[in-house]
């Protein structure tokens, strides 16, 4: 039958879960309606603003352009995972310290992108930061503060791992 629901299994924020999804459901819808996770949110609907960013097998992906069924077997991390222990992740803390947001709607996307960037490149220069985050939009335009936050997060992450 056309468009019927199916069960997928995935690892979500470190825990094995299963979800009932229909082929036309995207990842954001699945996270919101089945798991009550609203940190990834659809804004432009075209993969251009980054508000729907999730990490799939460690790589950032636009949740609004990814069919939920494609997450079968994947390891998915959302913004909620970063502070699950009650303590902010160094990237989140850096965003707070640098005032790297205003309305906050785009912030989870920027935080996850930064997380992925620093994993790939622990010591990015400003141009590398800009290149990596160029696909995320902030209408409040907190860009200068975001760059500061990424720099600070890089320092803190390094300090954390070496000492």
């Amino acid at each position: 039958m056309s468009g019927g629901a199916r069960t997928i299994n995935l690892t979500l924020n470190g825990r094995p879960v299963s979800a009932e999804v229909k082929p036309h459901h995207n990842v954001v819808e699945m996270l919101q309606t089945q798991f009550g996770l609203f940190g990834a949110r659809e804004s432009c609907g075209q993969g251009l603003c980054g508000c729907c960013t999730v990490l799939v097998d460690g790589q950032p992906v636009s949740g609004c352009l990814c069919l939920a069924v494609f997450l079968d077997g994947a390891d998915v991390v959302t913004i909620e995972h970063l502070s699950e222990t009650g303590k902010l992740d160094p990237v989140q803390q850096a965003f707070v310290e640098c005032g790297a947001f205003q309305c906050g709607y785009c912030t989870p996307g920027f935080v996850l992108m930064t997380k992925a960037l620093l994993r790939q490149n622990p010591d990015p220069d400003d141009e590398q930061i800009r290149d990596y985050l160029a696909g995320n939009l902030c209408r409040c335009a907190a860009y200068p503060e975001i760059i500061n936050a990424v720099r600070m997060a890089a320092r803190e992450t390094k300090a954390g791992s070496t000492g």
Binding site: L37, Q46, C103, R130, N136
Partner: protein
């Protein structure tokens, strides 16, 4: 938390602290609440079927195809709405906008019918099955053409009469002019006749969008005894009043709850999705969510495009002795707040200059386009674009240094502004000087050689705040001494919650971090006119201060009542314990603030146009690629008079963010319109600034100033850094390559065409 109190129990000064936003943790962890993401049990999703003609009579709407889609709960048109809301027209200035089109459609994208379904995909699919037939009518899109009244958008205009500053609006027929504001000071005609030189230029601005990343969203839950509306709204009090009026209910049966806003910028003011959601919930007897897509934002509200003609007479000493401004505001199909844009910006249309003879005519016009409303500046950025370009053009024509020419003509404190209101606490010259200093203005520019040329430019501006408006706040101290603030100012990213908490903390001598701000809920939070026009810090700031001061006096009275010695510093909790024998009781302070205001007379003159003046400017350094017309802003300087900043860090981010938003409006943002249809209604084709568009050097500065009548010397910030950006860049382009652009945006093609025209090799229009 960094909140600390000294050993003596004193928290110290809270005002002036660069405190992090109070809600920072929620926002970085993805847990801050936004209407677009909210869900209620039993909720239905509404999807909108929109008009495909710019102006037309509705002949028929066939919804049968939509009703047949499995999973559709209901399909409604204005016929259904009229059954539950007999007079379904709303608007802050005119009651002109229907919940769903009644009889006629007035722009492409206007809501005509709605499909409700539990599954939003089903509702969306079903809207595509609706077929409407229209009898097309002639449409008008251009504001100057609309002013000729050859094609009428509305047969009759009905003023709303809601806001104190818009009481003068009149009902009219046979016109597209919703409001004309007229100001006459001195005798311009005589002054022009006497002038040594007269300059006249015409400028245009384009249609641009707020483009909040959280699109418009409201959820209404209608019950027989009341309605609760969750909404991304900048003005919950107005929404309550207006929904109550539509329902013919007392206000206390209408409850508006506002979580955080994913951006507002003026778009989420007045009624947006609230009335539609309410009507749908009434019809469906279920909670209904109207949450728009990014595309639909293009059919909701925009900034005003404008045509601005400005003429100045200069005497032999280089003084501006006369200025005449004519402004046509393209308000789109419904007035929204256009009349206020027209009037309030009209006050300062002649700029921050001391000119004895001024004539201003400002027209709010209806056209068959998406309605226009407030967008970060209430029309001021459009005006500054014109008058600061014009001023620069005159200086260059007179072979005067643009800075010196401005300084010679600058309006100074103690002198009457165009309206006749005396300028006070407006650091215009200081702002201008600081921009010039930072640009190292005294040193000549190295314009460069070859295909990259450099230039610099600056601009400075003045704005009157919207007046008269009212704010009310409540401060509530609980039995343990912890304190809660109830205020209707909506924090949409500008950091108002944090600033208000700092004011409470300052008055009550407690760490701002310890003050809880109650989420906006009209059942709980008292009246506020709206979070708009950079008014909140001043108006609500005062109301909060007054509320906290009243609570403080009550605390002092309690101390006296309990026999505490003078200067006692016993903790609040101890006072309550002593008074009530347990942790109990409250001390409640309230504050209401409404500044004085004198409405303009028939000549547009008043001795009290505004409780405070807003002053800001920008300076830029740019590079122009003369082979392609590409302009790169290499340095962007924003300087503002914010009085004494309550939270310097947040002020800086506000200046920076506002200027970058305006950078987009200056350089490339534009809604392309063909036959009334917006042809780039997506983020793929309507581009906003991203990481790579940020100038490599950005500087933001607040000058040393104090607003004498402001709360702790402060005044509003949100719009300031939008003012000067566009003309500063156009002035810099002229400086770099000697061409003058008079229309926004300053695209590479526009610059290239101007360069080719200057070289007498105009580029074809193909």
């Amino acid at each position: 938390m960094a909140a600390t109190t000294a050993p003596d129990g004193r928290a110290g000064h809270q005002v002036g602290r660069s405190l992090h936003r109070l809600e920072a943790r929620e926002k970085v962890s993805g847990r801050a609440e936004y209407t677009h993401l909210m869900q209620l049990p039993g909720m239905l999703h509404a999807k909108i079927f929109r008009s495909t003609v710019a102006h037309g009579r509705i002949k028929s709407i066939d919804v049968s195809g939509a009703r047949e889609v499995p999973g559709v709960y209901a399909v409604y048109t204005s016929e259904d709405v009229l059954k539950v809301i007999p007079d379904p027209y709303y608007g802050p200035a005119f009651h002109d906008q229907p919940i769903l089109a009644v009889g006629k459609v007035h722009y492409i994208g206007e809501p005509v019918a709605v499909v409700l379904a539990a599954d939003p995909h089903v509702a969306e699919h079903a809207t595509q099955q609706i077929v409407a037939e229209y009898h097309e009518l002639p449409a008008v899109f251009d504001e100057v053409e609309a002013a000729q009244n050859k094609t009428l958008v509305h047969e009759e205009l009905r003023p709303a009469g809601t806001f104190a500053d818009l009481k003068h609006l009149k009902g009219r027929r046979g016109t597209n002019i919703a409001l004309d504001f007229r100001l006459r000071r001195g005798d311009v005609d005589k002054a022009f006749a006497a002038a040594a030189q007269v300059f006249e230029h015409t400028f245009r601005t384009q249609k641009v969008l707020h483009l909040a990343l959280e699109p418009y969203a409201s959820i209404a839950d209608f019950r027989d005894d009341g309605v609760t509306i969750y909404s991304a709204a900048q003005g919950p009090s107005f929404v309550r009043t207006e929904i109550a009026r539509l329902l013919r209910w007392p206000e206390n049966r209408v409850r508006i709850k506002v979580p955080y806003l994913g951006g507002g910028y003026g778009g989420k003011l007045y009624i947006k999705m609230e009335a539609l959601a309410t009507a749908m919930s009434m019809l469906a007897h279920r909670p209904v969510k109207v949450a728009l897509t990014m595309e639909e934002q293009f059919y909701t509200i925009t900034k005003h495009p404008a045509t601005l003609r400005i003429k100045s007479g200069i005497d032999k000493d280089g003084r501006i002795i006369a200025r005449k401004c004519e402004v046509w505001w393209n308000g789109g199909a419904y007035a929204d707040i256009g009349p206020r844009v027209t009037q309030k910006s009209g006050f300062t249309a002649s700029g921050p200059y001391d000119i004895d003879n001024v004539a201003i005519d400002s027209y709010a016009l209806y056209t068959n386009l998406t309605p226009a409303g407030a967008l970060r500046g209430f029309g001021i950025p459009q005006l500054v674009w014109a008058y600061e370009s014009h001023t620069d053009m005159i200086a260059r024509a007179l072979k005067r240094d643009p800075l010196e020419f401005r300084k010679q003509n600058l309006l100074r404190n103690g002198r009457p502004q165009a309206t006749g209101t005396i300028l006070k606490d407006a650091a215009i010259e200081k702002v201008l000087d600081r921009i010039a200093d930072r640009l190292n203005w005294k040193q000549p520019v190295d314009h460069g050689t070859g295909t990259v040329r450099r230039g610099r430019g600056l601009a400075v501006a003045l704005k009157a705040v919207i007046s008269p408006t009212t704010s009310v706040a409540i401060v509530n101290i609980s039995g343990d001494g912890s304190t809660t603030l109830y205020c209707g100012t909506v924090d949409m990213g500008q950091g108002s919650d944090t600033a208000m908490a700092q004011i409470v903390g300052e008055v009550l001598d407690m760490p701002a971090e310890s003050v809880r701000i109650v989420p906006r809920d009209t059942d709980v939070t008292p009246y506020d006119m709206g979070t708009l026009g950079s008014r909140s810090l001043f108006h609500m700031g005062h109301a909060v201060r007054l509320a906290a001061e009243e609570a403080r006096s009550k605390v002092a009275a309690l101390r006296r009542e309990l026999g505490e010695p003078d200067g006692s510093n016993a903790p609040l909790a101890e006072l309550f314990l002593k008074k009530y024998g347990m942790q109990a009781g409250n001390i409640v302070g309230t504050g209401t603030y409404k500044p004085d205001y004198i409405p303009p007379d028939a000549s547009g003159l008043t001795t009290n146009a505004t409780p405070f003046w807003m002053v800001a400017g920008s300076g830029v350094e740019i590079e122009v690629d003369t082979e392609t017309g590409h302009v790169r802003v290499t340095r962007l300087i924003n300087v503002a008079d914010v009085g004494k900043p309550i939270n310097p860090k947040i002020v800086e981010t506000q200046l920076s963010g506002a200027s970058l938003m305006q950078l987009g409006f200056s350089m490339f943002e534009k809604m392309h319109i063909d036959g009334g249809q917006i042809t780039n209604a997506s983020l793929a084709d309507y581009k906003i600034p991203g990481m790579h568009d940020v100038p490599r050097v950005m500087e933001n500065e607040t000058v040393d100033a104090i607003q004498e009548n402001g709360p702790f010397g402060a005044k509003g910030v949100g719009e300031l850094a939008t003012f000067g950006v566009s003309p500063a860049i156009a002035n810099a382009i002229d400086d770099a390559v000697g061409v003058r652009l008079t229309e926004l945006p300053l695209t590479p093609e526009a610059v290239f065409r101007a360069l080719r025209a200057k070289a007498n090799k105009p580029l074809g229009r193909e």
